[in-house]
């Protein structure tokens, strides 16, 4: 119990709020409860990533394992500023966004392990699922390909006056694919409620940003679509939250898309099988100082929202939740082979 906040006091009968019905707080006005929630999700995303890595190392994950270490503030902050009826189209390092938008840990692990009751019934892995009830539409491997899809969802939302926003992400590498250009330009000219977060984490697989583009900042691309572009610190969850909230408001006012470049560092290899030996150690050390969780914790401590006790409580909770979900998924049955033949076409 610190400064009037404890975990039990958080709205939602013991559950920590994520994306909510109605407007989230205006920039700069997050309640202590919100801040704890943000902290919780940052830690949860990282812990979940770690658990996935552990499964990978145990040989239980057959495909690749991609973590969001270093990117948690971007994923969590951006999703926390959404409303329940908004659409989320996350990329492969945005686990935090899935969780904030309401995805259960069990479904996350079921996807990783390709089990029969996973959201894709084992047909696809990782974040490549959709959950229409939560308005989450996952990614495909083909980088950039989901941008036009997100734009189409935004078009539908606008046609139906849903007052909803579509949030999509792309990497510094993926942003060089043609679909980025076509999608952003179409969203711009149609003034659609579409927000694209360009996660500049310094590397695309082994390729540093300097070999991807000569642009000084990726946000410089926004002007070419008549869209506001901004570059922000992607390791500070509060900056991300505030910026996104403003972009969503703008979108809801019918003023069109925003391109937000979040600058951070991919702290792990591209996937679990990549030791990232091409990254200079000094670069990682430098960025370690801007660890999203540590930065959030610092602030919460300074604001006397987070005590050792509460921190402990949160981490115990996370550990339990993850252990439960991961165990559940590991015990869940694999799909029947013959299921693979079904469902190519809708009726």
């Amino acid at each position: 119990m610190t400064h009037g906040v404890d975990i039990a006091s958080i709205p939602g009968a013991g559950t920590i709020p994520g994306t909510r019905e109605g407007e989230p707080p205006v920039p700069g006005r997050l309640t202590p409860g919100d801040k704890i929630a943000l902290y919780y999700y940052l830690c949860l995303a990282r812990a979940c990533d770690e658990a996935i890595l552990k499964l990978y190392r145990q040989g239980k994950i057959v495909g690749g394992a991609y973590t969001g270490r270093g990117n948690e503030a971007t994923a969590v902050g951006s999703a926390y500023a959404l409303e329940k009826h908004d659409y989320l189209l996350p990329m492969h390092r945005d686990l935090g966004a899935h969780l904030v938008k309401g995805q259960s840990l069990r479904n996350i692990f079921l996807q990783q392990l390709g089990r029969a009751e996973s959201l894709t019934r084992g047909r696809d892995g990782t974040g490549h699922y959709a959950d229409p009830a939560l308005r989450i539409y996952g990614n495909v491997s083909h980088l950039g390909s989901m941008i036009p899809v997100g734009v189409g969802i935004a078009l539908a939302a606008a046609m139906r006056n849903e007052n909803a926003v579509v949030l999509n992400y792309i990497g510094d590498g993926g942003s060089n694919v043609g679909d980025f250009h076509e999608g952003m330009n179409m969203a711009g000219v149609m003034k659609l409620p579409f927000v694209l977060i360009l996660e500049n984490n310094q590397y695309a697989y082994s390729t540093p940003v300097a070999k991807q583009t000569a642009a000084a900042r990726f946000s410089d691309r926004a002007a070419g679509y008549g869209v506001p572009g901004i570059t922000i610190d992607g390791t500070d969850v509060f900056t991300v939250y505030d910026t996104c909230r403003m972009a969503y408001d703008r979108a809801r006012r019918g003023e069109g898309p925003t391109l937000i470049e979040t600058v951070s560092m991919r702290m792990h290899g591209h996937s679990a099988s990549d030791d990232a030996s091409y990254v200079p150690p000094a670069q990682l050390e430098e960025w370690e100082k801007k660890d999203p969780i540590a930065r959030c914790e610092d602030r919460l401590r300074r604001e006397e929202i987070l005590s050792d006790e509460l921190k402990q409580e949160i981490h115990v909770r996370i550990e339990t939740e993850i252990a439960d979900a991961s165990r559940y998924a590991e015990e869940a049955p694999h799909p029947e082979g013959s299921e693979g033949a079904k469902g190519v076409y809708a009726d």
Binding site: P132, I147, P148, G152, L155, A156, A157, G178, G183, N185
Partner: protein, 325 residues
């Protein structure tokens, strides 16, 4: 009922679907005020508004991708490629997103991509595409290819109502060349059913699209002049294929000629020939023959295009050869 051209029939199909279902909308380059390069959407923006008949930037990948997005959240987009050729620019969206979404996510993707297809108009290598073979191979897509106004309207409507991505091949060559009365009523033509355009007992001639109309002429003429009596089947749907209708006819004729405008190697005809050769093995009195365009790009100059594409003479020669096998 007024006599209606093929393109008017497509137009009417879109109009009727726009009227029937508020989730239907159109998207494409120059389709609004201008009514599209071939005027298939003429008047539709005026009557349904710029919200439902949407002019897009010149961006095929974004058009098809946005259609996928709108479809998975419950709309029914009908998009136009200005020429079928340009679908190559949106190819990835079709095969990566449109085709695989239902299998992966169980979410329907009800969208139609209209593809003004084919040659015989001296369009050269970039305005004569027959794109069906690429997509025929991709599980998750449907393909229709009407050859008559009644089917054009009826299959367009069926495509709009289908819960899967449907590629609608429409033939520029036929746009203003074929006309017929369109009866009143809904007129939906079910996807997946072939039509017998001419009964015959000697040879089963399987075709679709523009070249079907040539094949039918030739069949009539050869029946009249040479006593070669071909049964002409218009596939209408390429995917799914009406295999049963084809096999039924083959079992009675014992001989097959497949004719498509698209180039031969790896064309849709290959699958049909393989399927018939396998499943009607004991009924075949002659090898299954195929006629398609030569394996070249479609050239520009008329004599070259004429040489490359199938025509009446080549169809007649193939029928004669089979008949005397």
């Amino acid at each position: 009922m007024a006599v209606t051209t093929y393109i008017e029939a497509i137009s009417r199909g879109m109009r009727e679907e726009l009227e029937r279902d508020p989730t239907v909308f159109l998207m494409g380059e120059d389709i609004g005020e201008y009514g599209g390069a071939f005027r298939a959407t003429k008047g539709l923006q005026r009557d349904f508004g710029a919200q439902r008949v949407i002019d897009t930037p010149l961006s095929e990948a974004a058009i098809i991708g946005a259609a996928v997005g709108a479809a998975i959240v419950g709309m029914r987009p009908v998009v136009e490629m200005q020429f079928a050729d340009f679908v190559t620019c949106g190819f990835n969206q079709l095969v990566t997103n449109a085709a695989k979404t239902h299998y992966r996510w169980g979410i329907p993707v009800p969208m139609v991509v209209r593809l003004p297809s084919g040659g015989y108009i001296h369009g050269g290598p970039y305005h004569s595409a027959n794109p069906e073979s690429w997509f025929f191979h991709v599980p998750g897509l449907k393909i229709v290819a009407p050859s008559t106004p009644v089917d054009a309207r009826g299959l367009l409507k069926a495509a709009v109502r289908d819960n899967n991505p449907v590629l609608f091949l429409e033939y520029k060559y036929l746009y203003r060349r074929v006309k017929e009365d369109i009866p009143d009523g809904d007129g939906v033509v079910p996807i997946g059913r072939a039509a017998i355009r001419r009964q015959g007992k000697d040879i089963t001639l399987i075709s679709y699209g523009s070249v079907l109309t040539l094949a039918l002429e030739v069949a009539d003429q050869l029946a009249r002049d040479e006593g070669i009596d071909a049964e002409v089947i218009d596939l209408r749907s390429l995917m799914p294929l009406d295999a049963e209708a084809l096999l039924r006819s083959v079992r009675s004729t014992g001989k097959v000629l497949i004719v498509h405008e698209d180039n031969l190697t790896g064309g849709v005809g290959a699958e049909i020939a393989a399927m018939i050769s396998e499943h009607a093995f004991q009924w075949l009195d002659a090898p299954v023959r195929r006629l398609g365009a030569l394996d070249t790009p479609v050239p520009f100059a008329a004599p070259l295009e004429d040489h490359v594409l199938p025509d009446r003479e080549k169809i007649a020669a193939a029928l004669r050869e089979l008949s005397s096998y």
